[in-house]
Homo-oligomer: 314 residues x 2
Amino acid sequence: MNFADRLIASCREADSVSVVGLDPHWEMLPESFKRDLPDEPEERAQTVADRVGEFCRGIIEVAADCAPAVKPQIAFYEQLGWRGMRLYADLARYAKEAGLLVIGDIKRGDIGSTATAYANAHLAPDAKSPLRTAPFEVDAVTVNAYMGADAVMPFKRAVEDAGKGMFILVRTSNPAAAELQLADCGGRPLWNRVADLAARLGADSIGACGYSSVGAVIGATDPVSLKQARGVMPNAPFLIPGYGAQGGGAAELAPAFDKDGIGSVVNSSRGILFAFRSEPWKSQFGEAGWKDAARAALLEMNAELNRARRAGKA
Amino acid sequence: MNFADRLIASCREADSVSVVGLDPHWEMLPESFKRDLPDEPEERAQTVADRVGEFCRGIIEVAADCAPAVKPQIAFYEQLGWRGMRLYADLARYAKEAGLLVIGDIKRGDIGSTATAYANAHLAPDAKSPLRTAPFEVDAVTVNAYMGADAVMPFKRAVEDAGKGMFILVRTSNPAAAELQLADCGGRPLWNRVADLAARLGADSIGACGYSSVGAVIGATDPVSLKQARGVMPNAPFLIPGYGAQGGGAAELAPAFDKDGIGSVVNSSRGILFAFRSEPWKSQFGEAGWKDAARAALLEMNAELNRARRAGKA
């Protein structure tokens, strides 16, 4: 089954378009997780990985019945070394078993033979790979296209052959994003060219739902950018980061959804994982209630986004 | 000591500007390495990692006294799962102990907090990191700046605080690179804007040698592009891939070197690692002589590049 169809089915089942970003910032974990680390380096590294794993499994349990997908940001596992990478793979399996789709936020991109190795690692091995399964297998990944189509075609192979998905990094919302992405290229911002590439690559991977398994990361949550992105990429599902902690709100997202209330998923990481650190959840649940706080924050996000989806419908 | 100074000292000591790319394409290894893999998945994965490790250690031994640095391409280790990532870290240590600098070809880039996690993983941990050393520590990394300065500043922190280096992906030589990198932005190709960013970031990290610890990946090996790149980034050391297997030759590289024959290092991966597959080395050494073939190919590359360096001097 086409990834876009699976994503939309998962959204409908959970009545949610909220993707939970598994970005375990160490310093933001509850204090009980950070206490009494061993000094011996190997033992310390394993203890840290175990505790991050315990926290992330708790979040996956919270999300299992009220979100379509989780999105682990691989950098937070990579900084824990090979044990962190083993944890990343374990968490991807754990989330899958819980019925969630997994979007690996890896933002990889390189020349063809190297991109093939990344696709082997994260989506599905090709015929030349010595391993028979992808060691970090997820349902979809984010990719960086600065090197052009070469850098993303090997992922497309896995989309076609293995029912996987990919989201091309098109427009991001970080403060310095404008520097290159908004550069004027013949009257259009550069990101429009990347959007052209995403639309072209996705044109032959459109599922029954009308959306492609080649999506786009669109971090700009102003209605004008969203409409412009939709114009260039009519069939691309959008993965919209930046909800909550990075500043975006639900009301502005209405144009991200079509008349059926689909077409985009929205990611929140810190706003859910560390909800126990902010009011009203902090007073209500305290640090020991981090799981309940995460669930409350996720349900609130679902409600807000479902209102935005209905606004798109109207 | 500033990374650029260390790189140049290492080039002088080895009388070489050749960087050996550790890209262990599984299908290109000598047949004896690929034989009789176990079927059981965990055992198979460990066997594959062990054999790739044996091959790469052989190449590091070959390069130790006649190259300044090795450049492992992390994708080839990532596709072997967490055991491959453990191997990547082991090989980085092995190369360091052999006296080589290590450039991690990771091409990471993401928003600030995520890029910080990558810098923690690959260069040096910051104060908030639970680990006290970088688990995948190398001397320098390659980074992708599509997201703007945010995506590279955390690596710059490690350049300043820990004497590390970084190479920003500016211009690549793969067939589809032109699609975005040559997009006309106000009369200049887009890659010039990325080059501006690299020059700006590197301006305060210039060592005694006159070069910065913030370098640039410049894959276009035509003399015109090289001169243009040098014009925009007078102090950036260039990391030039694409020598040999990807098609670039030594003669065209003369403009990459200054009057002292420094300013760039040149990478070859397949041309050295798999020299035993091509003439004249194939007939001379055969598959069993893969290490001797790699050494012969590396010494030939050194001689060719040293001629180009003298041409730059003239």
